[in-house]
């Protein structure tokens, strides 16, 4: 199995633990990722709000590069995944978007046809590789892990391509296959605070607080995420939140790929676990036994 790979800025920066765990895990499952040559910003964040035309062109340039490879494109970051999909939907639906994009790309000798499928790693893991193959690869079942699966807002909304919009279950199934326990977490698609954490901090942090508190209240000992921004928001401010809400908030926040790596028996530092601000107990089963 081979895919083109669009890392985006996060996976090379604040979210490098995601890439560090994604690549060995997929490779362990026989999936080859071929990083897109000369990729650029996906077009997410401020671009869409300031100039949607520029946003679409940025996204479409990456898609045009991917089209030359004639294989599905994996976009692990939720922001990239959404924007690349959005660009394809809009170009297909609104001819003026398609025309503008194509004409701009022509200057760069590129063509955009909209033929590449943009995929999320979760989709590939569960639907292409399958839980049975994943189960076979588990050498270190995640005994004692009680995981709150947190999907965030972008990978199933508005385009519910591989899971239910309101009650996604792909990660839930995945963690059970890894031998972990999954806690009921109805906030699995609720906002983490997004960029509000940087602009209107008290509002953003309140949203993070609710997610963290509910994960703790439901007995989770780790919260798994799919998104670099969610990971950052939830992980980085737990000290501030604890003092603001007079409540000790402590919840390790990891990428689902890191949990997979652990279950596959990969060393913690090879899957970026040392980068967690709130450290995760690697053997919660032992802690339980005590």
């Amino acid at each position: 199995m081979k895919f083109s790979y669009f890392p985006g800025c996060s996976l090379k920066g604040s979210g490098r633990a995601y890439e560090e765990s994604l690549l060995p895990v997929l490779s362990a499952l026989g999936v080859e990722l071929e990083e897109l040559d000369d990729w650029n910003c996906c077009g997410a964040t401020a671009y869409m709000a300031v100039s949607d035309a520029a946003g679409y062109v940025l996204a479409a340039r990456n898609l045009a590069l991917a089209e030359q490879k004639k294989q599905d494109l994996v976009a692990p970051c939720s922001g990239c995944y959404l924007v690349l999909n959005k660009c394809q939907h809009y170009a297909a639906e609104y001819p003026d978007v398609a025309t503008r994009v194509q004409e701009t790309l022509k200057r760069d000798n590129l063509t955009y046809k909209g033929t590449t499928k943009v995929r999320h790693p979760l989709d590939i893991l569960v639907n292409d590789i399958g839980l049975d193959a994943i189960k076979k690869r588990v050498t270190n079942p995640l005994k004692g892990f009680k995981i709150a699966p947190y999907y965030g807002c972008q990978i199933i909304r508005p385009y519910a391509t591989f899971d239910d919009q309101h009650n996604p279950v792909t990660m839930d199934k995945l963690f059970k296959a890894l031998g972990a326990e999954v806690v009921t977490y109805p906030l699995k698609t609720r906002c983490c605070g997004g960029s509000l954490t940087g602009t209107v901090t008290e509002v953003g942090q309140n949203m993070s607080y609710i997610l963290l508190r509910e994960a703790m209240r439901r007995g989770a000992n780790v919260l798994a995420t799919t998104c670099p921004l969610c990971q950052f928001n939830l992980d980085a401010y737990q000290g501030d939140i604890s003092s603001d809400y007079h409540e000790s908030v402590k919840m390790p926040i990891v990428y689902f790929t890191q949990l997979m790596g652990l279950a596959f028996g990969l060393p913690a530092e090879k899957i970026g676990l040392q980068r967690c601000i709130v450290p995760m107990d690697l053997k919660p089963a032992a802690a339980l036994a005590k």
Binding site: H166, N167, T184, P186, L187, I210
Partner: protein
């Protein structure tokens, strides 16, 4: 009678305005003027309403005055008024089949913009009909006798009402019900809106009347397996599933139930929506009709393994009503007409996971609450939470679950607003809880319905306008602890609210049965895209279908409440009765026939016929069509390589003249 001549037909053409329905788009006067120039046209007129009495009289008068022998009317769909105009021709002394109708309303003025194109189309279609009608031959109307017995499929309130109406009129009725008892969903209800009369009090007398009626053969726990034949003469095979009880011998004493080796109920009680448990041998509910028990093969140890003490058989004793050797039985009956009253199924609330049904125990469906508030229900009418003892202090009723929703069903289920208010009233009455209704719009269009809504508001039931976003258990404040939180945008107050409650009731909508497509294929009728059975005309033939002799009643045709269902059931019974009393029905004479001199006896046509109406006369070496079996589809006509098969009303010369003239400019 004016007999059409072969040499020079005399045709009358009539262009209907249909008020402004046609004339608002098509220039009717111009069409009539142009039509006057078509060959053989003697009279051409336009008139405001051709279907009215004066319109019809106009045709009759012209037939006499101008010695017309053929008529063309350009108006609405032939499916609507062909019969009317054929009647007018007949009254005018003309053979009714020397008539051709042109559809310039449904196929023209209603679908095109006003202008030359629409008028040109009306002219083309009319010219084609004029050309075609010249080839029409006088035909004899054929009739077929109607078998007086009726089959009714479905024993809910619709089927019960139709069965009693027909049986009381002296007709023999076969009532077939899939479940072990008749009564349908109505039997599960406590009270009915808006009068709050007890459902059982008004339904159970009707159920026992069905059970006791000498004119009704009641087959419960049975399904229609096969339907053959046509109007007046249907042959239906019914599969009677084994209930392992000999119906005639069981007296309904329930002693076998008491004696069963299962000391306590262990399996979900379907009648109580799983809120209580039953044994493998059980009576669905005390007023079940027929009032006899059945043995569930899925859970009975003896049926499954043959290794049981059979304490039930012992308890039954001399009555010997239990028979473990019972097999499914096929019954074949002849009936003239069939009424389908197969009802609906409730929407599966699990399809909307954010409402928490199946996740949070204290989220209920409305049907579960119907059982909870019912004095003969699993809690004897005590409204308590799943723990079996706590009375809810606050209850939220979520409207439109699976209705008015692009993601599930777009239609309004029509009954949910009213039954939600009924349940709100009953819950408040039983528990004195605060009750919140979350609605999009309140739909209370019925006699006494709006007044009921007002009454509820006076009782202090809360109404919050907004579609609920989610039902959840995460908390933001102390008062939310241990509660279910309903998150909703209150569109009247203009902000997002969180309302903590102890119990959530999901007002699930009505949807077609999962197997409605199979059922309608079996009876050769149509479904709407949603899966509801399609009526012949939404206004003028609401209980008829496109298949003669098959009628529909109740929620199988679309969501409706009890009063509407009963009215429709009565209408279906009356339609069936009118066929039966007439004794026979006129058939379209559009059957096919073989011109023996031109037939080479090649047998191409024989496998074409799905009704085995064609055979080969081995002496004369030609094909022969049995007119009584022919339904007039014309498939054999199109297949005949030598053109030896002809079809009345749809013969080659008629159709080809239509093609030619429709394209003539």
């Amino acid at each position: 009678m004016n007999e059409p001549t072969k040499t020079q037909p005399r045709i009358g053409v009539y262009i209907c305005h249909c008020g402004t329905n046609i004339a608002g788009v098509v220039d009717c006067k111009a069409v009539a003027e142009t039509a006057a120039q078509y060959p053989n046209v003697v009279v051409s007129r336009d008139y405001k309403y051709m279907c009215s009495d004066p319109g019809q009289a106009l045709i009759q008068q012209d037939i006499k005055e101008h010695k017309l022998d053929r008529i063309v009317v350009s108006s609405c769909s032939p499916l609507l008024h062909e019969h009317t105009f054929r009647g007018a021709c007949e009254k005018g002394g003309l053979n009714p089949y020397c008539f051709q109708m042109v559809n310039i309303r449904e196929h023209d003025s209603w679908v095109h913009e006003k202008g030359a194109a629409a008028t040109d189309k009306a002219k083309d279609l009319t010219r084609a009909a004029v050309s075609r009608v010249a080839h029409h031959k006088p035909l004899e109307t054929k009739t077929t006798p109607i078998h007086p017995d009726v089959m009714i499929v479905g024993g809910g309130i619709a089927g019960i009402q139709a069965a009693l109406t027909l049986a009381n009129a002296g007709q023999h009725v076969y009532l077939v019900e899939r479940e072990p008892t008749i009564g349908g969903y109505m039997a599960k209800f406590d009270k009915t809106f808006p009068t709050l009369d007890c459902a059982a009090c008004i339904l159970t007398p009707k159920m026992s009347a069905v059970g006791a009626h000498p004119n009704i053969t009641l087959w419960t726990y049975s399904e229609v397996a096969k339907v053959d034949g046509f109007v007046g003469n249907y042959k239906v095979v019914v599969k009677r599933k084994p209930r392992y009880i000999i119906e005639d011998l069981c007296v309904g004493c329930n002693e076998c139930v008491t004696a069963c080796v299962f000391k306590e109920g262990k399996f979900e009680d379907e009648f109580n929506m799983g809120l209580s448990k039953r044994k493998p041998v059980y009576m669905p509910f005390p007023q079940a009709t027929p009032p006899i028990v059945l043995i569930d093969p899925e859970t009975c140890i003896n049926v499954k393994t043959g290794k049981c003490k059979k304490t039930c058989v012992e308890a039954c004793g001399d009555r010997q009503a239990i028979d473990f050797t019972q097999k499914a039985e096929m019954k074949e009956v002849q009936v003239g007409t069939i009424i389908l009253a197969t009802g609906f199924q409730p929407f599966d609330a699990k399809r909307i996971p954010q409402y928490g049904y199946g996740i949070y125990p204290n989220v209920y469906t409305s049907l579960e609450i119907e059982r909870l508030v019912n004095a003969s229900g699993p809690t004897e009418g005590h409204v308590v939470l799943r723990d079996g003892k706590t009375k809810p202090k606050s209850v939220g009723i979520v409207h439109c679950v699976g209705s008015r929703d692009n993601k599930t069903h777009r239609w309004c289920s029509r009954v949910c607003c009213m039954y939600s208010m009924k349940l709100a009233h009953l819950i408040k009455h039983h528990t004195d809880a605060e009750v919140f209704n979350f609605y999009i719009d309140i739909r209370a269009p019925g006699k006494g319905y709006e007044e009921f809504y007002e009454k509820l508001q006076e009782e202090g039931v809360h109404f919050i306008r907004g579609r609920v976003a989610e039902v959840t258990d995460w908390q933001m404040s102390k008062e939310e602890e241990g509660k279910l939180v309903i998150r909703v945008e209150d569109t009247l107050a203009g902000f997002v609210r969180r309302i903590p409650v102890d119990m959530v009731v999901l007002a699930v909508g009505l949807e077609p049965h999962a197997d409605s497509q199979d059922v309608r294929r079996q009876f050769n009728i149509s479904c709407s895209t949603e899966g509801w059975f399609l009526e012949r005309h939404p206004k003028l033939a609401p209980v008829n279908t496109f298949t003669d002799g098959i009628f529909i009643a109740g929620a199988c045709q679309g969501p409706k409440d009890i009063p509407d269902t009963v009215a429709q059931a009565g209408a279906a019974a009356a339609e069936a009765l009118s066929l039966i009393k007439a004794g026979s029905i006129e058939l379209e004479p559009n059957t096919a026939f073989v011109v023996a001199e031109e037939c080479s006896g090649c047998k191409t046509c024989i496998p074409m016929c799905p009704y085995t109406a064609i055979s080969r006369d081995d002496v004369k070496k030609v094909a022969v069509i049995n007119e009584a079996l022919c339904k007039g589809c014309g498939t054999c006509v199109a297949a005949c390589p030598s053109g030896a098969i002809k079809q009345n009303l749809f013969d080659d010369d008629e159709i080809t003249s239509e093609i030619e003239a429709i394209l003539a400019k």
